[in-house]
Symmetry: D3
Subunit: 162 residues, 6 copies
């Protein structure tokens, strides 16, 4: 299977905003590899394995083909991308501050292995939805059903009740 | 007493910038409820109870009427706002990055309970004054008297000397 | 009729984004005066009189009460606001560049007559809709029906065909 | 020839920044169609025909394959894109203000025909190079040889001397 | 007289914001040359000669020494700077959009003659004051006395009454 | 030795971006004092003493004269600056978010001791290089030789292998 683009992130958990990016990215690139990146400076709510599984299940439920879900446990994303023969890293963005935050890493990634990064804007209805905000609201008992699939919402609420 | 607008924040401690927002907000909305929000991810210098008291005393000293001071210990701000029949959340902003930071929460709050958030710009002379910067300067022995009322400055210096 | 807030703009023509701001503003302030401002540096597609009429008709169709529609032909907006006893100028904003553009005028307006300006964020679905972009698309034959009411769309298409 | 992506712009004239975007875009998408867009509100220095020719010659000189150069004289870009079966519009960006400026059009273009827009960052060395700045400097007699190919620089200097 | 820094601009007319930059710049650099730049794309209210005279008079009234006032009628600013042996171009900035606007020119100026540009922030009280906004307000009859010296305000009002 | 400007920062470790700012700043101000600031909220990779030494060695290797390297262990930067008779604080900036972050501190520093802060833009090739990003990449085994001098790169790699 030819992978043109990789879509890296934490996905802790995957939101409808991520899903919107994925659907549209498949339309553009044909094949996408979602890469769940382990960030040693954060304490995720779901383990990398769980997140890979949650994304895979979401893709089945949403009937999206052409997407592989992988995990990057350690090492540089660009080395991982090269091993996959990926030509481009795809990042969604909601606001300019997303771009500001991602741009230096994108330039460094080009320096390291000539891989390019392209930025795909959020659909407006998901332009303010992030995993961290969704978790914050859910922790306080707020209804987050419009930002997540049913399965993911269930998993999130269960995890937070522990 | 009819409360049209709530003005939430940490107020750790209240600055002259906050006071400027409050004075002007009373002129616009008639009644305001200041809501001291407990942020479980931060270690405040003053307890919520202390902050409520400091704000109340400041309002008396500044002869500002039409403001209640309340505390939100847990739960969603929007539920608290609904219980008060508040129609709008008021946020002051100093720069675009304040807006960037607050906007996603504002959109989520509308989704949750249809409450709106409006943004009131700082007066220019307070456009760079934040509680955290004031505390940082005071900790290093700097004079912060132009950013705080006399009482609050005294309370801050005493607390930092402990 | 007590007017708390004025909502100034060009409204050339009124979009669903403006209408969304108006509906929500009435919920917050009770009474709103829309002020069609004549900008001598621009050549509007519709005359001020036509725009006043188009907004009034839109409000009837959308069943929004509590809004007056006025025209400012010349002079300072703040003098007009004072004559109406308005306490606040309301501006909608779609992005930070809207704030950047409006903020200096807001500060000057406070200097001139102590009137405040508050900023209400667009609903996400209208966060990219402006009269000028709608006109640009319509001129090229694009379908702009999702950004305007039926009546306004009809008026726009007719005007552009002249 | 399958065209996945279109790269629209004024290209008045094409700079090394544009050329950098093109080279990298071919690496990502395989096939690109450059579209010279006629903007009725601007007075270009070079006619659309001249610009098409200048881009074509530049591509030959730079030995870049997989790029067609087309002209959009009137009508919507998205209709043109659909006729080419393009799946995506590519925009280079130098700064956040480029994104701010382009994003509303990108959202409208998705509404009109479901075509997506992706944003590719400038290489740092071209992050401040625009056709308009290059023309402004050249008009005042400044050396612009590091921003243009030799042929384009020659054409620009000759045109400005007229 | 040794000129370390030049401070270019339109100064149509000079505001208290410009004057604040000048005072502080003299404290930093010792010697400053104000350069009134002719912009062929704008129709200034005051001629270059008038603006040079207005700035000179303002400096006398404000008792600021160490400043020369010059006029750049044509040609590149960097060539003018080199003839003065200036090491640096000074730009005041009020907001990030000022920086965004000036930065590409600053990078090009370094390319052309290795001259650097440094940015000095406005004092907060002048952070929203621009010549164009002051003129706009004065045209509509607004009081602009807090943004200009007495002499400049008088000159502006007289010119606008013509 | 007369010190006109101080250039404060963490320098953990010094990058080629810092070195570029230093070289250009010496050209503008003649004398510069680099000030290694101890931030009690961060855990630096190198101690303040080590960083002072690394910067000093880098300046020798790069043959840059006119720079002293000092350490601020505690207290306010502005008091330190006054003791040095410095007239200005110099900050490099890569993007607008750097300015946003630094501006409030700059305004407070002027309030405290009338010292000014000027901002010098990064050279484009270093506009995305920060100590923290370089460390992050080096930790994952990435090649950071284009962002650091040879000596600093060696020191960084050795330290991370511990």
């Amino acid at each position: 299977m030819k992978t043109v683009a990789i879509y890296p992130g934490s996905f802790d958990p995957i939101t409808l905003g991520h899903l919107s990016v994925l659907k549209r990215a498949v339309g553009i690139f044909g094949e996408i590899a979602v890469v769940v990146v382990h960030n040693p400076n954060k304490s995720p709510l779901f383990s990398s394995k769980e997140r890979v599984e949650m994304i895979s299940q979401t893709l089945v439920e949403a009937k999206i083909d052409g997407v592989r879900v992988l995990e990057l446990e350690s090492g540089l994303l660009v080395d991982f991308a090269r091993d996959l023969n990926a030509k481009v890293i795809l990042k969604g963005f909601r606001s300019e501050s997303d771009i500001e935050y991602e741009l230096p890493m994108a330039q460094v990634n080009r320096d390291l292995t000539s891989i390019e990064t392209v930025f795909l804007p959020s659909e407006p209805e998901y332009g303010y939805v992030s995993s961290s905000l969704v978790k914050e609201v859910a922790k306080l008992g707020g209804d987050v059903s419009q930002y997540l699939t049913k399965s993911i919402e269930k998993a999130l609420v269960e995890r937070l009740q522990k």
